[in-house]
Point group: C5
Chain length 99, copies 5
Amino acid sequence: MKLCKVIGFATASLKVEGFSPYKMVIVKSMDENGSPVGEPFLAVDTFGAGLSEVVAVATGAPAAHALPDKGLPVDAAVIGLLDHVSIYKKEIYSKHKEG
Amino acid sequence: MKLCKVIGFATASLKVEGFSPYKMVIVKSMDENGSPVGEPFLAVDTFGAGLSEVVAVATGAPAAHALPDKGLPVDAAVIGLLDHVSIYKKEIYSKHKEG
Amino acid sequence: MKLCKVIGFATASLKVEGFSPYKMVIVKSMDENGSPVGEPFLAVDTFGAGLSEVVAVATGAPAAHALPDKGLPVDAAVIGLLDHVSIYKKEIYSKHKEG
Amino acid sequence: MKLCKVIGFATASLKVEGFSPYKMVIVKSMDENGSPVGEPFLAVDTFGAGLSEVVAVATGAPAAHALPDKGLPVDAAVIGLLDHVSIYKKEIYSKHKEG
Amino acid sequence: MKLCKVIGFATASLKVEGFSPYKMVIVKSMDENGSPVGEPFLAVDTFGAGLSEVVAVATGAPAAHALPDKGLPVDAAVIGLLDHVSIYKKEIYSKHKEG
């Protein structure tokens, strides 16, 4: 799963059938210092993640398993809101400190 | 899903069976300022996206779920035309302003 | 799908069962000027694409749907020979002009 | 499979159903000298890999096959703890020397 | 499929069930001159590829189709030992010359 930070949101009025109940967040992967890197991408989010929250995002075919409807064309989904992230024993993110 | 801008179109007369009803757009991913980045790629489009429109594109095996015929060799499909895209509360795209 | 140019060919005498009827082309993705970029890779080709032809290549699990035998370990397949490719209304490839 | 080094750990209290029994490690791919490179990512680990251990990580849809529950949205899983890694006959990792 | 050169080997004593009969090679993709590029990765090999041999590697979900047991968490498998590789009519690899 990608270790991501939520950096924004997107809305679509015209979209494939069955997609309407889902919210899309814009995320970026994080490097080992917690800084967002690489290209932003869209993930379906059923957890209500807020701006700057750190989340685990499943990509590819497994992403659909995060939703009740497995037949949607979803290739990225938030699968959890992270509480603590440590790299080489240094805490780079703690939800309670930031939130 | 990739956050993409439509940058062109492609046509093929010789293609796999079942592909004929579908139009192919050429898209590029967008960075957080809304500029296209990376390699262009082809996506099947059933929404009639126009040049410079911003779309969500599902890639990999999930893309086929955007089409009525799930058995086509499709690895990228437009799943929605985006209305608004905001990054860190700044609007980087609004369909109504641009369109 | 990747927008690719055929840059070469490969043959294998020792390969997985069922692979024998298929030809493998070597392709590279194209940038928006039509120049090949990135790493070359192998794609199964049932269209008889020639050197320098521009093709659409499906990658990942969907690639197998381009072949009669869906159970082969194929992660890239030519799904069509392109006729015209335009980027921002400029034609970057036309089969008839080049061929 | 990716040849990875474990560089950290992450915990999530809010996550998709069925994920609770699994631990998530943070890993990075290794280059041919054994140095971690690229973006860190999350992998489900059922082997109890420790910090700095070298592991094989399956990514994409196959990752779910490493878990008893195949229906989880998992796109990366540790599939083994490596003992020896040699590149051009030079040993770049040996579990017994390091552990 | 990736056009790869075998650069090493890895062994694991602790691994997922069903993986024991398989050998893992370490490979790198090749550029159009035949030089290895990018990150090394692990592929299951049932062909007995030797060091410096050039092989076709299927990645992602299709890789499992190269093995008798389709339910293994395998995301990369050697699907053939290449004999000849030519790029723009120049032979960049010939098994018989090198072997």
